[in-house]
Symmetry: C2
């Protein structure tokens, strides 16, 4: 986009981000979160130069050992000398606030390692919604030149599915806990997983979970298409680090598979971009609507009718739409 106007100060920020300056990165994310309009042109510049860092989503039920496993993965990447960013979109994650919570979890040792950038984000981070906030934060992290970006979310609810939209590879964590697999089916997680990890693999029911997952994944996999990615199922024991190397290999294999199948990769990226653009358009329509006094009056009249039960939400929405 040639019509992008950047001030010298904006250019300085962009340079700092491109150099991987963690403080500049933290400040810019905070500005984006607070819906600071002046940030948009910086985000635009960063986005247009970006798209180079693989984003890995990790999700699973609370207590599945998600953070310990993420911790182990980071350790492996760090041992290879790679810089890693973690975006924790989970209010219950130890990433999200070790200091406030008061309990020093293992994860926080990475806080003193300048090769690991950790940022947490809660559902209330931004007015424009979590999905938009996550998108902007990832645009910034992507420009920082990390080797990998991890997004960690608790695997419950629609928000998590929306966040996984941003990932190039999605890891679904399961445990031999009763009902985990069933819950994942319900939450739609099986459909979006590229790699499955069955953690706490030392527990007796672990093999049963692997079998169930294998059957569920087979349904989805197109065996007649040799190019179709078959999601692997890896057994791990995160506390002892068992299976972590295999999990890391599975993730890297999937990222490589996408590089080798550009048409599949482009389809995925297009689907993700479509969802993200629809969100932003929808948010823009909402703002545009809210900026007209006449429309606001009509809206309040429809609200009155609703509260007096002279109308119902569907009819009221239809009438509001009629004035747009």
């Amino acid at each position: 986009m040639s019509d992008l106007i950047l001030s010298d100060h904006d250019e300085q920020i962009i340079t700092a981000i491109s150099r991987g300056d963690a403080r500049a990165c933290g400040r810019l994310i905070s500005r984006a979160e607070s819906d600071d309009e002046s940030v948009v042109s910086i985000l635009q510049a960063l986005y247009m130069r970006g798209g180079n860092t693989p984003i890995i989503g990790i999700t699973g039920p609370p207590g599945a050992g998600k953070s310990t496993l993420t911790d182990q993965l980071i350790e492996r990447w760090r041992a290879r000398g790679e810089r890693i960013a973690v975006l924790a979109v989970d209010p219950s994650s130890p990433f999200s606030g070790g200091a406030i919570l008061g309990d020093r979890v293992r994860m926080n040792r990475h806080n003193v390692d300048t090769g690991v950038f950790i940022r947490s984000m809660s559902a209330r981070s931004r007015l424009g919604g979590l999905a938009a906030a996550t998108g902007d934060t990832l645009t910034i992290l992507d420009a920082m030149g990390f080797a990998r970006i991890l997004i960690e979310t608790v695997g419950v609810g629609q928000n998590e599915l929306e966040i996984m939209r941003h990932a190039h590879s999605v890891v679904i964590l399961q445990t031999p806990g009763a009902g985990d697999v069933v819950q994942s089916v319900k939450a739609g997680l099986l459909e979006i997983g590229d790699v499955f990890a069955v953690n706490k693999a030392d527990l007796p029911a672990a093999d049963k979970v692997v079998t169930t997952l294998r059957e569920a994944v087979a349904f989805r996999h197109d065996a007649h298409n040799p190019d179709d990615w078959q999601p692997p199922i890896v057994k791990t024991q995160s506390v002892e680090g068992t299976g972590v190397d295999e999990l890391l290999a599975a993730i890297e294999n999937h990222l490589q598979h996408q590089q080798q199948h550009p048409a599949q990769r482009m389809r995925r990226l297009r689907d993700q971009a479509r969802a993200r653009l629809l969100d932003l358009v929808s948010e823009g329509l909402r703002r545009r609507y809210a900026s007209s006094a006449e429309r606001q009056d009509n809206f309040e009249q429809q609200l009155d009718a609703l509260l007096e039960r002279r109308s119902d939400p569907h009819a009221a929405a239809w009438r509001v739409l009629g004035k747009i």
Copy 2:
């Protein structure tokens, strides 16, 4: 609304719902969930006659004993001969699928009691989003003539806050588990709670949680306004049933307080109706947009520009909006 056209069949369904027919209710909810357009006029008719059943939202972190406490509350109401509906919007709730999960939890004994109607709903229940689906289901349940409707959700994420929009009284469950209160602050739960329950009150840290909650609630409470509701904090031990009577009394007190302060009550209802209407309008705009071929072409062009990094999501959204 006088222009509502109902077929004889629609009228029969409405009559069945008004009589409290559980099978008709279950079928109608399923139709609404599947985005069946023919259901809208029935929903409208039910909504315009409704608004009579108090809706109580119960939320709290996984493992806090939410279901056991809900179970105890239902038992108390049933002992008074009152019919109760439960809407579980939580994939990890035992309400949501006792039969599938295979573990028979206590809750399910209510399934054979015709005075208790239990319905579960997952984030994927409907295309139009969870908030819209919850609204329609509550419209149907409201018309069934229950004494109370309970909504149970896990207290994590934005969806839960949206669902609590529908409740006349919101109960926030906490435990002496480390970090619970901090997490609730982050999730914005303290701001929306009308009644707080500290469950597992036998644990040593329970009193500390009560103190922390009391301080947090005091911030919110306007001591200079005698009409302002001061959220009570009740200690419970759901397994033994300790404190459940006190919790029930606190909920009923809050409902009564709202009846006695119609201006406050109307303000709350109006805020809730506004949020619900905005959701439906936003969804309608999205659908309207998706129905124009020319707009679709423009949208796909913007997507191309995004994927080729010639544009960025904010600029693309702005250009899509320019064509609307």
